[in-house]
C-alpha cells in the first residue's frame, strides 16, 4: 500500500444559481482527505452539509469549483478527476469507479435481472454469463424470484434500494461511492449492506460511503471524516 487510491485536496464546490439572481451556494469548501486501497472510508454529517456533493464531485456528476481529486487508475495511471477529459472519465466509470445514488433511477421497462446484468455486459461479459451472475446477486439480496423479470419501479422502497446496491456492487469497481446506502432499509437489510461492504473490501475494493446512519456503518469503517 504505497499511495492513496484517492487524494482530495482543497475541494470546493459552489453552485451559481443564474435563475435566482446569480445567487451562490457553497456546500463544500477547502476539503482534504486521502482514501487508501481496500479501506472503508465513511463521511458523516447532518443532512444538507454537502456529503452528496463530495461524492458527485468525485464521480464528476458535479463540476468542482476548485481543488484537486487524484485517482490512482490502473487503466490510465494517476488521473485528476476534476479536469480529466470526458472520454477518460467514461472509461474509468465503466471499469474502476462505481457510484450508487441514494435513489434508484431506471427506465420503467427494464427488468431487475437486466439492470444488474448491464454493468457486467459493459465490461465484456456475455449476456448469458451476466444474467447468471445477476440472478445469483438477486438471490443474495433477497429479491423474490418472481420479481426478477419485472421493472423495479413497481418494487417497494427497500427492494429498490437493494437493486440499486446490487447494480453498484456487481460491477466490482476499484472504488465504490455509496450515498446513504442504508436509507429505506429495515434492520436485516442494513446488515446485508454491511456484509456487502465487508466482502467488497476483502476483494480489494475501496468503499467511500456518505451516511448519517452511524449505528450501522461506523463499526465497519476504517476511517471517518465528520463534517460539522
Amino acid at each position: 500500500m504505497s499511495q492513496p487510491i484517492l487524494k482530495v485536496s482543497g475541494l470546493t464546490k459552489t453552485f451559481v444559481l443564474h435563475l435566482i439572481d446569480g445567487r451562490s451556494i457553497t456546500p463544500v469548501a477547502d476539503l482534504a482527505f486521502d482514501v487508501w486501497p481496500a479501506q472503508h472510508f465513511l463521511i458523516s454529517g447532518r443532512s444538507g452539509i454537502g456529503k452528496t456533493s463530495i461524492l458527485k464531485c468525485i464521480y464528476r456528476s458535479y463540476l468542482a469549483s476548485a481543488g484537486e481529486i487524484w485517482f490512482d487508475s490502473l487503466l490510465a495511471g494517476p488521473i485528476e478527476l476534476i479536469h480529466a477529459d470526458e472520454s477518460t472519465i467514461l472509461r474509468v466509470r465503466e471499469r474502476e469507479i462505481g457510484y450508487c445514488a441514494q435513489f434508484l433511477r431506471v427506465l420503467p421497462r427494464i427488468a431487475a435481472l437486466d439492470i444488474l446484468a448491464e454493468p457486467l455486459m459493459r465490461q465484456g461479459a456475455t449476456r448469458q454469463a451476466a444474467r447468471d451472475e445477476a440472478a445469483a446477486w438477486l438471490q443474495r439480496l433477497g429479491i423474490a424470484e418472481p420479481l426478477w423479470h419485472a421493472s423495479p419501479v413497481t418494487f417497494s422502497g427497500g427492494e429498490q434500494q437493494r437493486i440499486n446496491l446490487g447494480r453498484a456492487f456487481i460491477a466490482a469497481p476499484r472504488l465504490l461511492l455509496l450515498d446513504e446506502p442504508t436509507a429505506s432499509l429495515d434492520g436485516a437489510s442494513r446488515q446485508v449492506v454491511v456484509q456487502l461492504i465487508d466482502d467488497a473490501r476483502r476483494r480489494g475494493i475501496t468503499v467511500l460511503t456518505v451516511s448519517h446512519d452511524l449505528d450501522t456503518l461506523l463499526p465497519s469503517a476504517d476511517a471517518r471524516l465528520h463534517l460539522a
Binding site: 453552485f15 451559481v16 444559481l17 443564474h18 435563475l19 458527485k56 464528476r60 456528476s61 458535479y62 463540476l63 487508475s73 487503466l75 490510465a76 495511471g77 488521473i79 480529466a84 477529459d85 470526458e86 472520454s87 477518460t88 472519465i89 467514461l90 472509461r91 427506465l107 421497462r109 455486459m121
Partner: protein, 284 residues
C-alpha cells in the same frame, strides 16, 4: 499525458453562416447578444466555431432550442451542408494507424463516396430520408447500391436482415413507405442508415412527433443497436429525456454557439451556463 481512447471524429472550429458577413458581425451576434442574425448585414451565423471530439462507440447529444444551430451542425457532419471555416477530421476506426483525413477537403466525388459508405442519417421527417415511391426494401437497397453492392441476392438478403434487426415485418419488404406507421418509418430509416455499416450514425430529432409508447420502442431500438454494434452516434434533440437515455456526453447550443459541453449527467445535474440551467429547469 492524454489517456483518452483514440478519436474517430474531431470537429475543429466548424462554422456556417448564411450571408456575406460584415466587420460588425462578431460583436453583434451570439449567446451574449441573444441573436444569431447580424442586425447590420442580416447575415445568419447558424453555427460558429463548433469543436469537439468523438471516440469510437460514443453517443454525443446535441441540445438547444429551435434555431440554435444544432441541425446545421448535423448537416455539416453529414457533408450535406458546406462549412465556411473549420475542419472535420476523421480517423477510420478499423485502422487507427491510418492518418486522419479532413473530410471537408475531399473532392466532391470522394465526399459523396464517404457519405454513402461511412455515414448514416435518420431524419425527423421520414420523407427527407426515404424515397416514398420505392418499396421499403428498395430504400435499403438504394443505400447498398450507393455503397457499391452489386449482387442482387446479397442486397435483398441484407435488406431483409436489417428489417428483422429493426423489428420490421420482413414479409412487407416490397410494400411502399406510405403504408407504414410513423414509428415503423423511423425504423425503416434506421435500417437504411445502418445498411452500409456506417462508422458514424447521425440522428436528427428521431422521436419528435411520435406517441410516447412508439417513442420508447424507437429509443430502445437505438439503444440496442448502439450496444450491440458499438456505433458512434451524434443525436440531435430538444428533449432532454431522449438525450439522458441515449447520450453519455452532451453539448448545449444557443444562437449558433456551443455554450456548454460535458458528461450528460453533469449537464443535467450541475448545469453551469445560464441557458443550460434554464433548459434543465424547463424539462417536464
Amino acid at each position: 499525458m492524454n489517456h483518452a481512447p483514440s478519436w474517430v471524429l474531431r470537429v475543429d472550429g466548424l462554422t456556417r453562416r448564411f450571408g456575406a458577413g460584415c466587420p460588425r458581425c462578431a460583436a453583434s451576434v451570439g449567446p451574449a447578444h441573444e441573436r444569431s442574425q447580424c442586425p447590420w448585414c442580416a447575415t445568419v451565423h447558424a453555427c460558429t466555431a463548433a469543436s469537439f471530439t468523438l471516440a469510437r462507440g460514443e453517443v454525443l447529444g446535441i441540445v438547444g432550442e429551435s434555431g440554435s444551430g444544432k441541425s446545421t451542425l448535423l448537416q455539416m457532419l453529414n457533408l450535406t451542408s458546406p462549412a465556411d471555416a473549420g475542419a472535420l477530421w476523421y480517423r477510420e476506426p478499423a485502422d487507427p494507424t491510418a492518418p486522419p483525413v479532413d473530410l471537408l477537403r475531399l473532392d466532391r466525388y470522394a465526399m459523396r463516396q464517404f457519405r454513402n459508405d461511412r455515414l448514416g442519417i435518420v431524419h425527423q421527417r421520414p420523407e427527407l430520408g426515404l424515397e416514398m415511391r420505392f418499396s421499403v426494401g428498395g430504400n435499403v437497397a438504394e443505400k447498398l447500391l450507393l455503397a457499391r453492392w452489386r449482387n442482387v441476392g446479397a442486397i435483398r438478403e441484407r435488406a431483409a436482415g436489417l428489417m428483422h434487426q429493426t423489428e420490421l415485418p420482413v414479409e412487407r419488404i416490397d410494400d411502399a413507405p406510405p403504408t407504414f406507421s410513423g414509428g415503423m418509418l423511423q425504423r425503416v430509416q434506421i435500417a437504411r442508415a445502418l445498411a452500409s455499416r456506417p462508422a458514424l450514425l447521425l440522428l436528427d430529432e428521431v422521436t419528435s412527433g411520435l406517441d410516447l409508447s412508439v417513442q420508447a420502442r424507437v429509443l430502445d431500438l437505438i439503444r440496442r443497436i448502439q450496444w450491440e454494434q458499438q456505433v458512434t452516434m451524434v443525436l440531435v434533440s430538444h428533449d432532454l429525456g431522449v438525450i439522458k437515455q441515449l447520450a453519455r456526453r452532451t453539448i448545449v447550443m444557443k444562437h449558433g454557439h456551443i455554450v456548454e459541453a460535458g458528461l450528460t449527467d453533469q449537464i443535467l445535474e450541475d448545469p453551469q451556463h445560464p441557458y443550460t440551467q434554464l433548459l434543465v429547469s424547463s424539462a417536464l
